[in-house]
C-alpha cells in the first residue's frame, strides 16, 4: 500500500491536479491498482455540469495516466519526463459522480524504443465505468520548451 506521501515521491503532479489518492498494488514496470476518491469539492464540478456534476472523461484518463506514471517512474531519471503520447479507444461506459471511489487498474501491454503502452480499466463498486489504452514516451526535460 502506497499512501499519498509515497505517491508524491514518485510522480510530479500536485493538487489541484493530483488524480491518484492511493496505490494498493504496484509491480514496477508491469502493473498497478490505485484509488481515486471523487469529491464534489473538485473545482471542475462547478461547470461540468451545473446541477449535474459528472467527472470529465479527460480527467478519468488523467487518473489512469498518473497511475501508469507510478509504474514506469519506479526507476525515474531526473533529466527525463514521461508524457502522454496517445490515447486509444477510451470508452466512458457509466458516469463518474461525486462520492464515487474509482478503482483503477493499469497493465503494461508493450514497450519498446522509447514508448510504453498500457491498458486501463476503471471500476466503481465493482462495475466497469471506463476503459481504454494510453501510450507514453520519455522526453528530455530540456527539450520541452524548444520550438
Amino acid at each position: 500500500m502506497i499512501y499519498i506521501n509515497g505517491i508524491n515521491d514518485q510522480i510530479g503532479q500536485r493538487p489541484p491536479f493530483q488524480m491518484i489518492d492511493r496505490v494498493t498494488e504496484l509491480v514496477p514496470n508491469e502493473s498497478a491498482v490505485g484509488l481515486k476518491c471523487v469529491s464534489v469539492n473538485e473545482p471542475h464540478f462547478m461547470g461540468h455540469f451545473p446541477g449535474t456534476p459528472i467527472m470529465p472523461g479527460v480527467l478519468i484518463i488523467e487518473s489512469c495516466a498518473q497511475l501508469c506514471s507510478m509504474v514506469i517512474e519506479a526507476d525515474k531519471q531526473d533529466d527525463k519526463l514521461y508524457v502522454l503520447l496517445k490515447v486509444d479507444g477510451f470508452k466512458f461506459i457509466k458516469p463518474v459522480i461525486p462520492g464515487d471511489q474509482l478503482v483503477i487498474s493499469v497493465k503494461k501491454t508493450r514497450a519498446g524504443g522509447s514508448i510504453f503502452c498500457f491498458d486501463a480499466e476503471v471500476r466503481v463498486d465493482g462495475n466497469i465505468h471506463a476503459k481504454g489504452s494510453v501510450m507514453f514516451t520519455a522526453i528530455d526535460r530540456s527539450s520541452v520548451y524548444e520550438r
Binding site: L85, K86, R110, A111, G112, G113, I115
Partner: protein
C-alpha cells in the same frame, strides 16, 4: 525471416495499429509527411517500438531516409539485425 516476410509484417502492423487502409499501402508507398498515408512523429515512435520488440533492432535517432516506406524500414532491419 526473409525480406518479404518482414515487409508483410510491417504492413500488417501499420494497418492494424496505425489505422492505415491496407489497399492504399504498398511496400514503396511514402509513409510520412504530405503523402496520402500521412503518418506523423507519434506513429514513427510506434514503428520504432514495434521494430525494437519484434526484431531487436533499435531505430531510435535513425535518419528519416530509413523511414521513407516499408522497403526502407525493412532494409534497415536486415542491415542491422
Amino acid at each position: 525471416m526473409n525480406e518479404t516476410e518482414i515487409k508483410t509484417k510491417l504492413k500488417e502492423f501499420i494497418c492494424s495499429t496505425l489505422g492505415v487502409e491496407a489497399d492504399v499501402l504498398e511496400f514503396d508507398t511514402e509513409l510520412f509527411g504530405d503523402s496520402p498515408i500521412g503518418l506523423d512523429s507519434v506513429d514513427s515512435l510506434e514503428i520504432i517500438a514495434y521494430v525494437d520488440g519484434e526484431y531487436g533492432v533499435d531505430m531510435t535517432g535513425v535518419g528519416k531516409e530509413h523511414f521513407l516506406n516499408i522497403d526502407s524500414i525493412a532494409a534497415y532491419i536486415l542491415a542491422n539485425k
